[in-house]
């Protein structure tokens, strides 16, 4: 199973995402922002980092990278895409996910081990979890506060597109404690916390993040 990890200038957690794919049993494939080449991957991870130094707006420039046009086109046909942190910001800027990520309400970068509640266990990236399950994975961002218009938030809630919520403290002031959302078809998922940093006991607060990457391998087989 080939899972692409897209590197933009300024991507930082691409090595971590590739490791997580490998530990889950998949084959990580390095993708380069400037190529129009998805290398026949079965799914794509947009990793965390500061693509283009967060200049203009976090994710805004990366969303217009050559390869992102291919990602957007294929995602509309059902290619599973996971955006983590900066990757989530890119997905929102690219219009694949609704809403926007703004500066944390307390204006600080924040890194902590965060409890999340799984709200949807039927997306391409979450089938190995159960609805209502609580997981601990790191959160680390300066611009992670999820916002959208009230009507949009109501619609997202109504359609069941909130995939994760912050529990035991909202680290960035996100509306309605939203940590991650999904596309209408449940194939594209974006979240601020970092599942790829919770895949080994040695280096993470837990191994709760591995489920993202094992889930997508099953989703690809099923598709």
């Amino acid at each position: 199973m080939r899972i692409g990890v897209l590197t933009f200038p300024g991507s930082l957690d691409d090595v971590d995402a590739a490791r997580a794919v490998r530990l889950a049993g998949g084959e990580p494939v390095a993708l380069w922002h400037a190529d129009h080449d998805l290398k026949d991957v079965d799914a794509v991870v947009l990793p965390g980092g500061f693509s283009y130094g967060d200049y203009l707006r976090a994710g805004a420039i990366a969303a217009r990278a050559p390869l992102m046009q291919d990602v957007v086109d294929r995602a509309k046909q059902g290619l599973p895409v996971l955006g983590i942190c900066n990757g989530f910001q890119v997905l929102c800027e690219a219009g694949l996910l609704p809403g926007a990520l703004t500066r944390n309400s307390h204006l600080h970068f924040r890194n902590r081990d965060q409890v999340l509640q799984v709200e949807r266990a039927d997306t391409a990236w979450t089938t190995d979890y159960s609805e209502g399950q609580r997981i601990v994975i790191p959160v680390k961002n300066g611009e992670g506060r999820y916002v959208a218009a009230d009507a949009d938030l109501d619609r997202l809630e109504g359609e069941g597109r909130v995939v994760f919520r912050y529990v035991d403290g909202n680290p960035n002031g996100s509306s309605r404690d939203i940590a991650g959302v999904t596309s209408e078809d449940g194939r594209v998922v974006g979240l601020m916390p970092h599942p790829e940093h919770a895949v080994e006991d040695l280096t993470g607060p837990s191994t709760d993040g591995l489920g993202f990457f094992t889930s997508v391998l099953k989703a690809v087989v099923a598709a």
């Binding site: 890194n111 680390k140 959208a148």
Partner: protein, 777 residues
């Protein structure tokens, strides 16, 4: 000062409308030059004239002034620092002092390079950018050696925690360290945060970076091979940081001085991240013969050091340097400290490939000159020669001073003012109150307010990070080989006795690395002191260097490099002598690392080492009595070494579940931190005087927990380390039989409230922003 140079080159004045060329300088030997404004003494200026056989051109004067500054030339410290180079050779040392950073063999063909450097003065003037570019500079030093940077640490000191200026400086410094390191994708794995009135107006911002490579990938900063091209790559050159090393880092602040903000550089971590990736790709395909980063003194430093360390000859066409500001004069271009720039020496046949890698990473790269025959560094500006110097006289043969030294006049009185005379707590209630006071003091308190702003997870190899005693990073995912690092510097001890203080700091860093289960291998240092022109400061410096060198010799550790920061004083009041010592250790298998916190109930708590009544310079004396006096605790390096070996054995055998070193705050601080880590308390019994047991700062001591106390005791006895059984983990309090019962809730509340109360609580706004009241997409 910048203004003065501009005037000379282009503005009105006696040199108006003329470029100050070598030829002109020879014709106008008597023209007056602003050497004093550039920080040069009159005898130094005379020596430059002597070297050149004429007056220097404006551009040459600029180069000499920055390169002969205290910051770049180490002119006051050099005679003392030689002691580090004279240490017995170490098998572990692959590259020693003199390069950008030393390189250490850590086994399996891996080499590690690490170094700590100060950015004190810029961080006071402009906290965010000063701290950010401090991180950027040390990361480039590590990169220059051919290594991939893998982690950073920061050692921070500020004035009184409740002083208004601390509230100005600290948040910016922390945000700058975090902002730059986070954006580079380097985990911050530890450091220090301490407060003392002596740092008011002179905060210390010391940043450490560590990088890893294979032995064969080590790169050196030298220009060799006539005809090889000199390539400047990275950011454009701007007007920022001109004279940073000579104006900021080599002068004391005075109250009436002009604003010095233009001397501080501005950082762009995104460009540096691209520079790192481009460099590593360039190294991987072997495209450079020499490389140097541009830090303090900018192009003046990079070109003269590359040429000086190589065959000596280099020519630069300065007008080819890409500029951010086209009005910069040649002298300003030579002095600019614009960040995120590197200089490489590349064979002509490899230039095109080099430029292609840079293009891939959107890194600007320009051929600005070449290696030449002979031993002169020449610089042209639009075809006219403006610099023609022997590069060694600029880079490596600057002035050397044997500054006068004098033992501080107040030292006898200070040492006689024994902390043993201070009123001590006696009852359980008093002991508990003092315990809470030490643990909740700004130095002892929870540092989460700071460390939450740093990414500790990026790259996925961080095994231990703050608040652990040492940071531990995995360097090989197959073999599980890794490294440990600690950075420590107790300035109270060094004030009482700089010789012993430096040794105590080394002992603490050594112990912290050993506590994690690692074998200590090598030492770096950042020596922060007042003005070398004051004999009492110079004496403190010399004593600290001598103490550190002697201790390294006894522990068998090489000093791989370091940094000296002088002139940390405002008016005639210097900071306490602050030698910050970093120790690098190696883990054969990071899966055997030993954490500092207690996780399990029912384990036995043991104290390894001997406790004596030692309170001079202690946290207890400082926090409770505002007292600094007496003698620091005794140094026993043989005991440290034995303890370190014992810890390695205990870790290897899997006999201990946690280990936490005792340092400032003594047993009281250590027990609190181990208990609060995972919310597991303990029931303890303290033999003898409980005050001494809790607050003494005797060295070579560690608290461990174990489910096999017999095994630990046997091993410790065999090693000759005294063991005291303190009690058993469990419960929600630290209970000392017959004395006190300190609930962890109360302890945590006191410990964790201090920094948010001082610097603002980010929690206040969390979750209170109603949905829909914020801007929408």
């Amino acid at each position: 000062m910048t203004q003065g140079l501009s005037d000379l080159d282009t503005g009105p004045g006696r040199l108006a409308d003329r470029l100050d060329t070598v030829e002109l300088a020879a014709r106008t030997p008597d023209d007056e030059q602003p050497y004093a404004e550039l920080g040069l003494k009159s005898d130094e200026y005379a020596r430059i004239r002597d070297i050149l056989g004429r007056r220097p051109t404006t551009a040459e004067l600029a180069m000499y002034s920055v390169m002969w500054s205290e910051h770049c030339s180490y002119k006051s410290s050099k005679v003392h620092l030689r002691q580090f180079g004279d240490l017995p050779p170490s098998d572990a040392l692959l590259v020693g002092i003199g390069e950008n950073a030393g390189v250490v063999d850590v086994g399996d063909g891996y080499a590690v390079t690490f170094k700590v450097e100060s950015h004190n003065h810029p961080s006071y003037v402009e906290p965010y950018q000063g701290a950010a570019t401090g991180v950027g500079g040390i990361v480039r030093d590590i990169l220059t050696m051919g290594a991939r940077p893998i982690a950073v640490m920061d050692s921070l000191r500020f004035g009184r925690a409740d002083a208004p200026d601390t509230a100005r400086v600290l948040p910016g410094v922390v945000a700058g360290v975090g902002g730059y390191g986070n954006c580079l994708g380097l985990p911050n794995i530890g450091g220090e945060l301490l407060f003392d009135d002596c740092y008011a107006g002179n905060p210390l911002v010391n940043a450490l970076c560590v990088g890893v490579m294979k032995h064969e990938d080590v790169r050196l900063a030298k220009a060799e091979g006539v005809g090889n091209k000199v390539i400047l790559f990275g950011a454009r050159t701007g007007g920022d940081g001109i004279g940073g090393v000579s104006v900021l880092a080599s002068e004391t602040f005075d109250a009436e001085g002009p604003a010095k903000r233009p001397s501080v550089q501005v950082g762009d971590p995104f460009t540096e991240k691209l520079l790192i990736e481009a460099c590593l790709e360039i190294f991987a395909v072997d495209l450079v013969t020499g490389i140097q980063d541009l830090g303090g003194a900018g192009l003046s430093c990079a070109t003269s050091e590359l040429a000086s360390a190589g065959t000596g000859g280099m020519h630069i066409d300065l007008d080819t340097v890409p500029l951010r500001d086209s009005t910069l004069t040649p002298a300003e271009i030579l002095m600019s400290e614009s960040q995120e720039r590197m200089c490489a020496i590349v064979e002509p046949a490899k230039v095109e490939e080099f430029l292609a890698v840079c293009r891939k990473w959107d890194v600007l790269a320009t051929v600005i000159g070449e290696v030449t025959d002979g031993d002169r560094l020449t610089v042209d500006w639009h075809g006219e020669r403006i610099v023609d110097v022997p590069p060694r006289t600029v880079a490596h043969e600057g002035p050397v001073y044997e500054r006068p030294m004098q033992r501080p006049a107040d030292l006898d009185a200070l040492q006689a003012d024994d902390a043993a005379r201070l009123p001590r707590p006696v009852t359980g209630a008093e002991l508990e109150a003092h315990w809470l006071a030490v643990v909740s003091s700004p130095d002892g308190a929870d540092k989460t307010w700071v460390t939450e702003q740093y990414d500790r997870y990026v790259r996925g190899n961080t095994v231990l990070a703050q608040p652990e005693d040492a940071g531990v990073v995995r360097i090989d995912e197959e073999s599980h080989r890794g490294i440990a690092l600690s950075l420590d510097g107790n300035a109270r001890y060094a004030r009482l006795d700089p010789y012993l203080g430096a040794q105590l700091n080394l002992a603490e860093a050594y112990r912290n690395v050993a506590v994690s289960g690692a074998k200590p291998l090598a030492v770096t240092n950042c020596l922060n002191f007042g003005s070398p022109e004051e004999p009492e400061v110079m004496w403190q410096f010399a004593e600290a260097v001598r103490g550190l060198a002697d201790a390294c010799r006894e522990l068998g550790l090489p000093v791989t490099g370091g940094n000296v920061s002088l002139y940390n004083q405002t008016g005639d009041v210097p900071i306490n002598p602050t030698p910050v010592i970093g120790v690098l250790g190696v883990h054969d298998d990071v899966r055997r690392r030993v954490p500092s916190g207690w996780r399990q109930e029912g384990e036995t708590v043991l104290l390894l080492g001997e406790t004596r009544p030692e309170f001079g310079g202690s946290a207890w004396a400082s926090v409770v009595h505002g007292h600094l006096g007496g003698r620091p605790p005794a140094v026993d390096l043989a005991a440290e070494r034995t303890l370190g070996d014992l810890l390695a054995a205990l870790g290897r055998e899997g006999l201990i579940t946690s280990a936490h070193d005792l340092a400032d705050g003594g047993l009281a601080q250590t027990l609190a931190e181990s208990a609060l880590r995972h919310g597991v308390g303990a029931r303890l019994h303290l033999d003898g005087d409980p005050f001494t047991a809790l607050f003494s700062e005797s060295t070579a001591r560690v608290v461990v927990t174990t489910s096999d106390p017999g095994g630990v005791k046997t091993t410790a006895q065999w090693a000759g380390v005294p063991v005291t059984e303190l009690g058993t983990t469990g419960g929600a309090a630290l209970t000392v039989d017959g004395l006190l019962d300190l609930p962890l809730d109360e302890l945590r509340a006191a410990w964790s409230a201090t920094l948010p109360a001082l610097f603002g609580s980010p929690e206040a706004t969390i979750g209170t922003v109603p949905a829909g009241t914020v801007p929408t997409s």
